[in-house]
Symmetry: C2
């Protein structure tokens, strides 16, 4: 396989979950009458979720994740109904079933029930649905895991169209949680570090990643995670792009980092393996032409784009 | 006042809370015996906090925020002791008093009790202490507000040296929360948008900012916040830098955004005012030479650096 120093891998695929067409109209969230009217709007649609399950409507060959509200209600009682915003002027909601109810819908011949990673990676729905599905999933998962007040232990009540939970006892207000995660490619000239977690599909290698901790900048977190996971010191860190990642509620902050040491020591508690890859080998992985069948994550994930931008010479360490 | 197109404002001041000298040694957090020994280490030091109050030791003219552990314990019973990591090989802890106990220490002649914003803005302690103080404050504030399980309402127990709380009832594990915030300068050629919140000190104008919501990328959040707060559409968004901001637990993600419309409509619920400023006027503000005494935030805050980088021509929209 011949790969030039900075290969052109062809047209760039789309990153998933970004460039939302939803207008969130946050100023409407506290307007109860407006939200009631929005539910009654004939154009209103709801994404139906339960745990990791997304319910899709079979429309001939196509799969439609946006249900008329009456149809969503017929699928089961909502644990939570959240207002996502307006899409092309019409209200969109997230309709949260409990996970068991959603799973049971797999038996219905007119529906398909799948997890969001599969839907996104295989392009099973129009890409415009991915950002609101991410929004609905992150928000509904937060409700499912935050029905009690962390400050005093009392049961809380949903408010603001699903964007807040209020404690009737201590009056604390709780907001949905989003966890910033750094995901980075450590680079040393013409080679980079890829790792494998045990949970990955076989033969897939990816960027290192980890949660940003309290009291850390993005840049500090990148350096700490690379040091912890593979024992390398990093210098300059460059931001690349970001992506919401609703598994359950992360914000992926993609970076390239300049490696300033070379000896990899793998933290086997975090990773199954990690090693240096040269540019030609990674190009072969992106092109699905690697002799041992090694691959990178699919284009729906930001790791693909972080890796590809380096292979194509658009960034250095 | 004459200001050239791309003025050089002199040496760049330091951004606060970044470039931590703490080695977090996360692998030690679960090692109870090691943590016990670390507390007994003669070189161990603790930052003493209670709510917004930081306790400082008077050392002649200097103020030292790092107390020997025995001395910290003598100040009051800890609501929580958290392990921050190693600094120059010696253990550092956060020692959390309740807010009233910390406030009462203001009466002691050998101590000074101040809030972290004041300490940081006025440079009252060596800058190396700011990152661990941010780490301690964010972590201790999280404990203070999260003593109960959001999943089931039971009282939780601290574990992992302060980096986790475990629920004995439903077995849920809870991790410290960090809230990503976008903070951005919307730019249209030689002018930019600055706003004022009612809580700001008089005459100070700053970048717009807001929390990243579930299901949003950084770039989507920047465009939404600018549209919501001042009614402007934005195109390209460029990352600039980031900063932990422990008030109470934010990660500030600094950006420049290309404005694609020009008419400002201020959201008076969020802002007292917002308007276009040309480069010369902002340069005068940074130099503290504005004819009406308008100012920008101090260098400890990332807003200062976002604004200054644009004034100095280092970034465009």
């Amino acid at each position: 396989l011949h790969v030039p120093a900075h290969p052109d891998l062809g047209p760039k695929p789309q990153l998933g979950y970004v460039d939302s067409a939803i207008e969130r109209v946050a100023e409407r969230r506290g307007d109860h009458a407006w939200l009631e009217a929005a539910q009654a709007d004939a154009g209103a649609r709801a994404y139906v979720l339960g745990g990791e399950h997304i319910v899709l409507n079979k429309q001939g060959e196509a799969l439609d994740p946006a249900f008329p509200l009456a149809q969503a209600r017929a699928l089961g009682k909502a644990a939570e109904l959240v207002f996502l915003g307006l899409m092309q002027g019409a209200p969109r909601f997230g309709y949260g079933l409990d996970a068991a109810t959603a799973a049971a819908l797999k038996a219905r011949p007119d529906l398909v029930v799948l997890d969001l990673r599969t839907i996104a990676a295989q392009g099973l729905v129009n890409a415009q649905h991915l950002p609101p599905l991410a929004e609905a999933k992150a928000l509904l998962n937060w409700h499912a895991r935050h029905r009690f007040c962390a400050n005093c232990g009392a049961a809380t009540r949903v408010s603001q169209g699903g964007w807040r939970r209020d404690c009737p006892a201590c009056k604390a207000e709780h907001f949905p949680r989003t966890d910033p995660v750094v995901i980075m490619l450590a680079v040393d000239g013409d080679r980079c570090v890829l790792g494998r977690a045990a949970r990955f599909v076989p033969n897939m290698w990816s960027c290192l990643a980890g949660f940003v901790e309290p009291g850390e900048s993005v840049e500090d977190a990148v350096r700490r995670e690379v040091r912890e996971e593979v024992g390398l010191a990093c210098g300059r860190v460059r931001y690349f792009a970001s992506q919401p990642w609703p598994f359950p509620a992360s914000l992926m902050i993609g970076c390239h980092a300049e490696a300033r040491s070379t000896e990899i020591v793998v933290d086997r508690g975090e990773l199954e393996d990690a090693r240096w890859f040269d540019r030609a080998e990674v190009a072969a992985m992106l092109l699905r032409q690697h002799p041992q069948g090694l691959t990178t994550p699919p284009p729906v994930a930001i790791a693909h784009h972080i890796i590809r931008a380096w292979v194509e010479g658009e960034v250095d360490g």
